[in-house]
Symmetry: C2
Subunit: 363 residues, 2 copies
């Protein structure tokens, strides 16, 4: 396991190499489990725990993620992180990003104005179309990769769905460059693709997992696949939020997703590019490979994911983010593509580039 020291169990430190961009490595420290005290001394982030102490040079970290309610953190570390742009991110037990420790000393106001302005122009419409194209092509390509290991009718059915989704994506070209006119159409194309995609996945998952349709968090799904997907999307949202914030964009003003005071629309926009490639793939692969793990994943009393399984899921998602994939002629970790995508979007909004090419995972 590249970059991993230790694993995600009680009060253990996990230093996770997240991505390599140019000569710079991005690393995070994940505090997951009870009893750790995280402090700072002479350039080192120190993790004191019952079974011994560990430390990491602060210079090697870009983020500290706290996924547990059983840890403590020193105010010196919080201050030092703020001064050194090391982000502290707090996740809920269901993987939802709850909050972040933000420096309030900087903001890229010019970029944020350009972002808001683009919604009135053809730029905004083009971005929204590219997002949907990326999303449904990603779904189609993930199905194609699932088909690779199959034969007979199962393979044919999956490939048929994949083709249908590709046809939907070709409708996007016909739409005009006026966001308010086409939003409804975009959402409808997205919904058609999603229905076909999840039907196809339901068809190949082991029946005992009880996954018959995709259900969002508010729909209160009881099956481990949907609950895991929702957990994974929560983690992905937190990742994307961080990168959007880092890149100076405003998480709340999106293109495809409408303004909402409860959902950071741009984060949801960018997430579309990576849902299938990251979360769907991790959860579906896990469900196919070891359905028993998922069957035991739900805590009977709380109805939520078990702590150990959450750790497994987090680890799988972070590992997936590290995997090198090819896009736009560049082979690099998915996480690095995520950052590039957001930075390229910012450059496009600021007229520093003439186009933005939305990420599509190959198969």
């Amino acid at each position: 396991m590249k970059g991993i020291q230790g694993c995600l169990t009680n009060a253990q430190k996990v230093v996770h190499t997240i991505f390599i961009v140019g000569a710079r490595r991005m690393r995070r420290l994940i505090i997951n489990g009870y009893g750790a005290f995280v402090g700072y001394k002479k350039g080192l982030v120190t993790v004191k725990k019952k079974d011994g102490n560990e430390s990491v040079p602060l210079g090697n970290l870009d983020q500290i993620v706290i996924t547990t309610s059983g840890a403590a953190i020193s105010s010196k570390l919080i201050r030092t992180c703020l001064k050194n742009k090391v982000e502290i991110s707090i996740l809920s037990s269901s993987g939802r990003p709850l909050g972040k420790v933000f420096s309030i000393t900087k903001s890229h106001v010019k970029l944020r104005l350009a972002q808001i302005e683009a919604r009135r122009t053809s730029k905004g419409a083009r971005i929204a179309k590219k997002i949907i194209y990326s999303k449904i092509r990603g779904q189609s390509n993930f199905l194609k990769s699932l088909a690779k290991n199959r034969t007979g009718e199962s393979k044919d059915n999956i490939l048929k769905t994949s083709e249908r989704i590709d046809q939907l994506s070709s409708q996007l070209q016909e739409l005009p460059d006026e966001l308010s006119e086409i939003r409804q159409r975009l959402v409808s194309i997205e919904a058609d693709a999603a229905r076909a995609y999840w039907d196809s996945i339901a068809g190949i998952l082991p029946a005992e997992l009880g996954f018959s349709a995709r259900k969002k968090r508010f729909e209160g799904p009881k099956d481990p696949v949907n609950i895991s997907l929702n957990y994974g999307y929560g983690v992905l949202a937190s990742e994307v939020y961080t990168l959007v914030e880092y890149s100076g964009l405003d998480p709340w003003f999106g293109f495809l997703h409408e303004d909402s005071c409860r959902r950071p629309a741009l984060v949801y926009d960018i997430m579309e590019l990576f849902r299938a490639a990251v979360v769907d793939r991790v959860v579906v692969t896990l469900a196919l490979r070891s359905p028993n793990t998922l069957l035991k994943a739900i805590d009977a009393t709380s109805g939520r994911l078990e702590r150990d399984f959450r750790g497994t899921l987090l680890k799988e998602i972070f590992e997936r983010l590290e995997q090198g994939v090819s896009f736009g002629g560049q082979q690099k970790p998915i996480y690095a593509h995520m950052l590039s995508q957001i930075r390229e979007l910012a450059r496009y909004l600021l007229d520093h580039s003439h186009d933005w090419k939305a990420f599509v995972l190959g198969w």
Copy 2:
């Protein structure tokens, strides 16, 4: 000392009643000094320290301010604060707001759009003029209140300056309602008023304090009055930032202050309304009442304010924020006026009210 339990010394808890709006009391817990561990248990925020433990019901708090690098905070408390909208604010040792633990689950996007839009319309220009009016009238009125306790030439000089500033304020009416046209004029009126105001204050401060002119942080002042003012403005900025954020406005898009990636312009706009009434008054009063305290306030090695003096200053500023003053027919704590001002500005931007009346302190 209304609302204060304990005082600002090592590892002590200070629960400070900040304002009363309607039936709601706003309280903060200040962690200042070494060795405190702040946690959460069964509805209580617990503060463990060498000389005993204390606790406060979380429901009684709206903010936890950490002004020291010698404390620790549990992740359970951080999570609970995020869920219950209790803000955690981190100040640097020089009083600068470093960061905040923010919930990333909500944003008032409609209001933020209206705020940005107003800068193109006459609304933005009217707001900018009102801000300058409030600022320089506040300076003039503070001078008038200083004149009250004086006689002879000293009194006459102060009142003359006050009149000159009032004359400057009357020039504002002549300016058109077009922000880009008048910004330069507004800044020049502000600068003229500031020169007269600080000259007048330099004239009455004890000479041994070495205050000859107002110097900002980046100008590297060495005298305790300027250093204290800068510390105080830092604290005020943090307070205003919090209230602006709470009210759903974007701290970075201002009216008077131009966009900058380093200064949250709206926070600086709103601060203008309260600089003289809060910070100048606290520091000048302290300098007149006990110049010796200020002479001993500078740490010889670091050139910064001594820890104990920072505590004194913080306490004085927070107490001043609690003092009831009259504006717009309402007698309430300054802090409550601050919140009302920001909320009224938001209502004005959303067209829920027809005007915004900027706070001016009486004398």
